[in-house]
Symmetry: C2
Subunit: 347 residues, 2 copies
């Protein structure tokens, strides 16, 4: 055992097991070339001496750490909890590990975290980019030779690199059609600043659906806060207008749940007097009172697809950008399952 404070190295294991450093290295790599009894001797030495592999040292000669960075913009959004579970489930089978970092939706902080992860020599990056992320980040990833999969949000107008997302547009078309079918004509979209790709995608899908139905779009952009509290506050404002919308499609479930809270405060019966639809179909959507109607984006499956794509890129490097867009579905629940009262729509 080396003196206190020093790490156990291959050299120590080799001396303890009576083999060479190269043999130790082969054992740790689970090489089939090593005899079984030799392998056992080395593993016993590793256990006895409390050896911890040094991935940084290994990356000086081999290229991989078996580590994937996951960078998201709001760790408190339940979408990401589910997505990370999907990522980890997929990586586990490949003996990879994900390391998660939260940008707080700041491009500057994001740059710092991405750089720090690269310095630690992650093998690939799954990135839900902060709003206003500069286009140059895609180039930087390419320069680094770091496989990067943009997830749910992308950098720039269209993704130039790999992308995994959900078919929000079709989901919005279904939501708008559903609301129209239930008698709604004043349907508003409650979204963020309008600058993130997620915002723009929602706005465009919603606008297209409204135009096709011959209705006037009503897009409510606002501050870069997509939380329950923001949904509540903004819905309170909207409902105090002279002619408020009769239906709200919210950026995500958190905002939609906030909107439900606002309606309750205003004694507006959610569903019957004002419909609310969220996006994501979080676990909470089904539990709330009334149950929230939501466009299901399947975050767990998104996570699995993104991690799977990262592993595929690492297994067979090829620079063709891949795009995976999972289907969405409209989960119809009480918050948007009533035919609108006629008096409310006319007034």
């Amino acid at each position: 055992m080396p003196q206190s404070g020093k790490h156990v190295t291959l050299k120590d294991l080799a001396a303890h097991a009576g083999v060479s450093r190269s043999t130790v290295s082969l054992v740790l790599q689970e090489s089939p070339l090593v005899a079984r009894h030799t392998r056992e001797r080395v593993m016993a030495a590793a256990r006895a001496l409390g050896y911890v592999y040094n991935r940084g040292a290994a990356t000086l000669r081999s290229a991989r750490t078996a580590t994937i960075g996951v960078v998201v913009h709001d760790i408190a959004n339940p979408f990401f909890g589910a997505m990370v579970a999907g990522i980890d489930e997929t990586l586990q089978n490949a003996d990879y590990v994900s390391l998660l970092a939260s940008t707080g939706d700041s491009p500057a902080r994001q740059e710092r975290l991405v750089t720090r992860l690269r310095e630690q020599r992650i093998d690939a990056l799954l990135l839900c980019p902060a709003e206003n992320t500069p286009d140059t980040l895609t180039d930087t990833m390419a320069d680094w030779g770091l496989p990067c999969i943009e997830v749910m949000r992308h950098i720039g107008e269209t993704p130039r690199g790999h992308y995994v997302g959900a078919d929000i547009r079709t989901g919005l078309a279904r939501a708008v059609a559903h609301l129209i079918h239930h008698g709604h004509r004043r349907i508003a979209l409650l979204t963020g600043t309008g600058y993130s790709s997620a915002d723009r995608e929602r706005m465009m899908g919603y606008q297209q659906a409204m135009h096709e139905a011959g209705l006037a779009p009503d897009i409510r952009t606002g501050r870069n806060e997509l939380t329950r509290r923001a949904g509540l506050e903004r819905t309170l404002e909207i409902m105090n207008e002279p002619t408020p919308p009769t239906a709200l499609i919210c950026h995500n479930d958190l905002m939609a749940l906030g909107a439900l809270l606002a309606l309750a405060r205003l004694n507006i019966t959610p569903g019957a007097e004002c419909a609310v639809i969220g996006i994501d179909d979080s676990d909470e959507a089904a539990l709330s009172e009334p149950a929230l109607c939501s466009i299901a984006t399947h975050p767990h499956a998104i996570g699995r697809a993104a991690a799977g794509l990262a592993l595929a890129c690492l297994a067979a490097p090829d620079n063709d950008p891949r795009r995976i867009v999972l289907e969405t579905s409209l989960r119809i629940r009480a918050s948007a399952d009533h035919t609108l009262h006629r008096s409310r729509e006319s007034s």
Copy 2:
């Protein structure tokens, strides 16, 4: 620029800037020994060549990566989002970065993640341990010489290493006193399996408060799931008993919010007919309908304290275990702010 796929190294920067590798290294370390014009030349070379530092290589000679691992058991719990924000805020000023990993409350997965983080040579670990974590983990950290701060949960009966938590016992004493003052005599504690230190702490604090009030404790342990859905389901069961409690203290806000949903489904008026108190005082507590009464544990401050302790350990290594326990406070809100109807207590 080296050929594609190869990283830019100190050697490349040195050639580009016309200085030695040692000078480049000193510049990157921001050593005051280097002349300003030399420093500028090197930094220009680094920008021009797109240099990325290799922290793994550096740790072969220097000891630090300026990276702290944060391992939690349920990333979807809003407590951790707030705690991580506090951690990151504190680390930013020290030019440290946190890398987060989620154990899903599995000791086996936790062991794997902790090992992987150590292999990446994190400088310290903030750990909210999985339930049933073996005592030996504390010894392993000590053997590794890795400063480890247990947060909110600890390993074993009492923390043997560093610990940061909240004074749950005092919070529970206040909650019980508050409920008694409002006429409640059948007060139940809804908790987890009873095996985690967080469970035990809650059970003991609650029991002590109930004994001191001369009341019979009613502890409801259950499965290892501390979610909104679990709170809802278990409350539905409890409320179907012949003589259900008139007040529920729940393991965390998520469960308490689930309990409120259950009461609403049963047409039991939350607050008036059955009081509900959560633990954590998440952002959602104040927004819910009725607003949730909760023991505030200040996760943001917990995160700040934990990160601060980690930095202090790194700055002045000393093996004396430190213990920081932040004060809690009872945030009184509608879910537990009514005097109990007399008929309900008597029946």
